[in-house]
Symmetry: C2
């Protein structure tokens, strides 16, 4: 703890380092943001506020797909392709499993090795936290830091199971769903809700014997998309195929994403989406802070013990208990 506090820089040092794209400083700043220490939080807030004018200029792309779809291989080759186009690429991850293990899908394995050695790439293992919302919020702040450091594209990886996609969707401009060409049961592996969130889809591993199957799957997905409501963005969802093995289809995917960006910038959805994301994150943060403050309150903790006992004995209802706790909380706050 003492060590970690000693290794903190001054706000101005973080700021300068990040604006010069010193990747060591960027990493330290992300560590600062992920810290649970309240002194670190004050520092992180000051840093983000100072960096705000330098943020917002990247294209934020979420990438998801079921395990085995080849997300990291795709990100490795797609990232390399973007760098070849003269862009600088940051890769972050939202990984709910890291909440349990404290580890990270990206950190645990030696993945994306080529990309991680490229001076125009920055790869950061996923944040940890006690809630998925918390993890996603750290990711959101990490995006801002990467943007201040001058990255043109930020790729945010998620593990393709359950709620993490909703969180990724809430921090990105474009959401890419990677799909496998399966044996006729293409639609079973992925939840309909996740397909509905996608701004674009790509069938991976479209190479060798798999090429024909991938094209067939492409047709199936295109047809399935017709069943959905028109996307909020106003831009039709494209379904493409690609091979990370042969680096094919990557240019088409990027072209499709750039086309999306142009259209949503023109029709106003790009700004609308970002603004709505910010406002709902503010609300989510308020909610979390309120609950944290509530649960830390000693008077509340004391009363909670009694009420929980009464609830489990069937003598107290959840609603009345909550209102009693609220009174205790308000009274205690007014005494401070």
């Amino acid at each position: 703890m003492a060590k970690s506090r000693r290794s903190r820089l001054k706000v101005s040092e973080y700021k300068e380092g990040i604006l010069l794209n010193d990747r060591m400083v960027l990493s330290k700043a992300i560590t600062l943001i992920e810290s649970a220490l309240s002194s670190d939080r004050v520092l992180a807030d000051a840093l983000i506020t100072q960096l705000m004018p330098h943020t917002g200029r990247s294209l934020r792309i979420g990438i998801t797909g079921v395990p085995g779809v080849g997300k990291s291989t795709f990100i490795e080759s797609f990232g390399a392709y973007l760098i070849e186009q003269g862009l600088r690429v940051a890769v972050l991850a939202i990984d709910p499993s890291s909440q349990k293990t404290g580890g990270s899908i990206l950190g645990d394995k030696t993945r994306m090795e080529a990309l991680s050695h490229n001076k125009n790439a920055y790869i950061r293992p996923s944040a940890t936290g006690s809630t998925l919302g918390g993890v996603a919020d750290k990711t959101r702040e990490s995006i801002l830091l990467c943007e201040a450091a001058g990255y043109d594209v930020v790729l945010i990886e998620t593990v393709g199971v359950g709620q993490s996609e909703v969180k990724v969707k809430s921090v990105v401009d474009y959401f890419l769903l990677l799909m496998l060409s399966g044996a006729g049961d293409e639609l079973q592996g992925i939840k309909k809700g996740i397909m509905e969130m996608a701004d674009g889809m790509a069938i991976t591993k479209a190479d060798g014997d798999n090429t024909q199957k991938a094209t067939k799957a492409q047709g199936v997905y295109k047809a399935a998309l017709h069943l959905f409501a028109a996307p909020e963005s106003g831009v039709p969802v494209e379904v493409l195929t690609c091979s990370s093995l042969h680096n094919t289809g990557l240019a088409e995917i990027w072209q499709s994403i750039e086309g999306f960006k142009e259209q949503v910038k023109a029709n106003g959805y790009f700004d609308l989406n970002r603004n709505n994301q910010q406002l709902s994150w503010m609300r989510e943060n308020v909610n979390r802070l309120l609950m944290e403050d509530f649960e830390r309150n000693h008077a509340v903790q004391h009363e909670m013990k009694t009420l929980e006992k009464e609830i489990l004995e069937g003598l107290q209802d959840a609603g009345s208990a909550a209102r009693k706790l609220m009174q205790v909380y308000k009274r205690d706050n007014s005494l401070k």
Copy 2:
């Protein structure tokens, strides 16, 4: 408003009426619970607290299914069947659409007519509210009142789209999913997540030409259930067929539900589930009360205007804004 306040009874009058199963008083009490007036809330809390020792003895059954599956026809015939078995049956509904219209799926139509005239049945249109959580919470409290009035079974209907199932699941002991026998695409209409929540499934309209299709669908669903994780309850999910037209299959469904109840009472899941439901509802109520109090705060409202403007100008981050608002809220509370 004045009129509605004048029509309030005393807590003791509500209590006596409910314990005598005076359905008029029960209806008035549910109206009291649904009221947004804070004076009504105080009264409702007192009433629920006094009734708590008389609650908890019903079997709470959630019933869902896509529109067209025949939920109300099923509830009508299933309710009549239960009454024939000597049971008293209450029917409530959670209807997210009523949030918008202020109306109710049950109230809008002359449905369940036979059941509504039976003296051993009580039918209440769905509660309205500003959030689905709020609506579900009123439903939860209505269940308690129905239990105090001596109903043995409370059926809670939901409309089978999206989030309302999660809420119903959080107030019931048993969750029944009604399904249609479709043309081979049985699995497409319903979300996998909803199937995973079901404690039991029934294929409706298993009559006439449809009988064979229903049996086939039964097989498909049984097979599909093997793909899911073992249910938390520890009781395997049964898939049955029924016809509300011919009143067939109803006895088997009730037998299956009773079997479930016996097993979860024996293995401890019944109590565990109810306790967990109460504790998470307490948390949800606290959360709602905190947010309401926060949003009502004038100092917060004032600061929010400035911060939202800064956010939309890209000068303020959602996280810092939330922390600033929190400081304003705490400071203002300490002055009261």
